[in-house]
Symmetry: C2
Subunit: 433 residues, 2 copies
């Protein structure tokens, strides 16, 4: 049986999982694909520590990455070291040496994808990256191949497991953000420094890739409005629930008229919407396609075996591309030329949930609603919470009709300068999903 040789760079959790699965499922996979996927070399800084659940022949292990890049017998390089450097340089060298590439590196691809995909195409090689969005959910294959006939107008969803876990904990256990994050760390669902996840950066990386798949455009992370979940309080979650909404951190890209908007922020969605039932570390991605309609793809957004599932499926796709010795490029992603510019967050219109912390004095509501009215903002519902004795600080919770971000920000800035307002007001978008 013909062998396809793979060089693995990065022998961490996912890397060792790939080796384990390729070994345990060798017969199963060979029967499916008609050849053997053979790990020829594994490179890592640490080649002495034993990896859990997998023991490998010492001859396979190396510290020398050049040994993989320069080995003419290696057909595919799998990059699992993460980060921008030296991952970028290694992928470039691998492509230049005529190798195809599998990577799970969303940070790298979101920043350097345009250059890397162009180089791959120039060299007549493929880069597969299914693991980079939604872990084991085959969303990239679905969008690129399964929905090949479609044009997309919108893609949005929950793409970060850690922050969804934290919001779910807060909501289900009525606990603070800090306590929920502590739980997430204890259970291995948050890293020691969870900033990238909690502040929406990881979601933005994935949104860049989803935007590329949807519209054929590589936007920069600077083009994305990013707001994390660290300012969400459990009272907002509870007030939102009373109004019939759940709060989720969504990544959203959509085309409207000739503009593309891309943003990551906490969002109120109706409680009977499918996304509201996506709990814990699960991810769920919605796409709006002109032929196939509204589709949702849901599954665990993290975890060793989910990631391994997608790395192996990328490897299998590559074996099929190069099987006959004739290279088959992946289906091309076409740029949507009808998009003329990016829409600034200032111009995005949406409904909002607003919480204003004010002293409970006569005339407060009149002053607040007066400012909103001045900016053309119309109130859909208002609720003064927890009325206690006069003079105390109480939350006023409002839902406002569709308003332009810029107008709302200006109105809240003025309101927040009132002496009766005791905290910065909270405004969370309500998304029409």
């Amino acid at each position: 049986m013909k062998k396809i040789n793979v060089g693995l760079i990065g022998f961490g959790t996912v890397g060792s999982g790939v080796v384990k699965v390729l070994r345990e499922k060798k017969g199963f996979l060979s029967e499916k694909i008609g050849l053997e996927i053979n790990i020829k070399k594994i490179c890592d800084k640490d080649i002495s520590t034993k990896r859990k659940g997998v023991s490998v022949d010492k001859g396979l292990l190396t510290n020398d990455v050049k040994g993989i890049i320069n080995d003419p017998g290696i057909d595919i390089v799998v990059e699992l070291i993460g980060g921008i450097h030296p991952a970028k340089e290694l992928i470039i060298e691998a492509l230049n040496k005529g190798k195809n590439v599998v990577t799970a590196n969303k940070a790298l691809l979101s920043q350097e994808g345009k250059e890397l995909f162009a180089l791959a195409s120039e060299r007549g090689k493929n880069i597969y990256f299914e693991t980079s969005v939604g872990a084991g959910i085959p969303i990239i294959k679905a969008m690129r191949e399964g929905l090949v006939a479609n044009k997309f107008s919108r893609v949005f969803g929950i793409v970060n497991g850690t922050s969804n876990y934290v919001l779910s904990e807060m909501s289900n256990n009525n606990c603070s953000f800090a306590e929920a994050l502590r739980q997430a760390k204890l259970n291995g669902f948050a890293e020691k420094d969870p900033t990238l996840d909690i502040e929406g950066i990881d979601s933005a990386h994935k949104l860049i890739l989803l935007t590329y798949l949807s519209f054929g455009k590589f936007i920069s992370i600077k083009d994305i409005f990013i707001e994390g979940i660290s300012r969400i309080s459990v009272s907002d979650i509870n007030y939102a629930r009373e109004l019939g909404f759940a709060i989720k951190l969504l990544a959203i890209a959509k085309k409207q008229n000739q503009e593309l908007e891309a943003r990551v922020h906490p969002t109120l969605i109706p409680e009977d919407h499918l996304l509201a039932s996506v709990d814990g570390v699960f991810n769920a991605i919605y796409v709006t396609a002109d032929l196939a309609g509204e589709l949702l793809f849901y599954g665990p957004g993290a975890g060793q075996s989910s990631a391994v599932s997608s790395v192996v499926s990328d490897l299998v796709d590559l074996t099929q591309d190069i099987k006959a010795g004739l290279f088959r490029p992946t289906l091309k992603i076409i740029e949507d030329k009808s998009i003329k510019r990016l829409r600034s967050i200032n111009d995005v219109e949406s409904r909002y949930y607003i919480r204003i912390m004010t002293e409970d004095k006569p005339g407060v509501l009149a002053r607040i609603s007066g400012v909103l009215a001045k900016y053309g903002i119309s109130i859909a519902s208002v609720n003064q919470k927890e009325k206690r004795k006069s003079g105390q600080v109480v939350p006023i919770v409002m839902v406002i009709h569709e308003a332009r971000e810029k107008d709302l920000r200006q109105a809240l800035e003025i309101i927040d300068r009132f002496s009766i307002i005791k905290e910065k007001s909270v405004a969370i978008r309500i998304e029409e999903v």
Copy 2:
């Protein structure tokens, strides 16, 4: 640019949609796939009636299906006539003449798939059938390719749009089955004779294909326990809701120990489960995969453009398979040899919702629970509804702990023979989803 020639058999709703989309998106698709998909001939019984939204050159149209089958210039035959005969014979002839096949014919594949796929493999040709399950949801590609490294233990979901529409209408508008079905027909979501959809036959056809994709086994429709939704009453929907459940028609295949069970029936699922939010003609398919975990695929389960989306994606896959002139077979589906037999519905264990219509007399509950106890059936909750004056018929709604189907059937048979019982009792499975 190289052309791949297609012969289309069946110029109905989907067929004319395929022609329209291939024409309107010609440039878009050619740029993606690097060649042109050309409809060379269209065969239909009726070639004189104008098709909505698409006008074709008369020279393309023919009554003579042999003209397509025998045309050596045609690379791919798309079968969209439905039914078993002559669709089966046409596909066999097409394969024998060296053509690849795309079909949306779930009734045919569920009955004759084993033979047809074997013949395709023998002839070195592919049969693609993405449209046959979940319309535009790329579930077949996801299971076969995206999850290629996985073994499946379970697949289940809502796979029939008509019956889900009817149940949603009943639930949302508090109306009877008959009224909901009337609405479905009015809105074009049910056929004149909706038996196949309403009685679960169409779901069973799709379940056969999902079982094949999951376990590599073609089961017969006779092996599937099938129960439709025509006996579901709006009161059952309401009682279930009070208990925190929604009622959905599910198709379920799962492996337990060495047995495979396959069934289609109305099912109670928790209201906060994703499937409970799947409304109207939408479909949603869950799979449990050993590496990727629990995944859900959701989208419109019917409609012209959804179907067209999948037919075109099948065509594109075939163009990539045959592009280089070297044939690339689809990934093989491996039989799960650990499955030794089918589990009879009699041996399936599950929790149940039960509604018993009884005269409201003293000692009724004691008699009923006595019979259940005799069969080892343990009651989790019981609720006597709408207490009116003594002697009237009232529903007793129960939830029972896990019980064997056979035991429950026998117990209910005895209970239904009591003179105080005025209607056949209703038992609906509660699925642990």
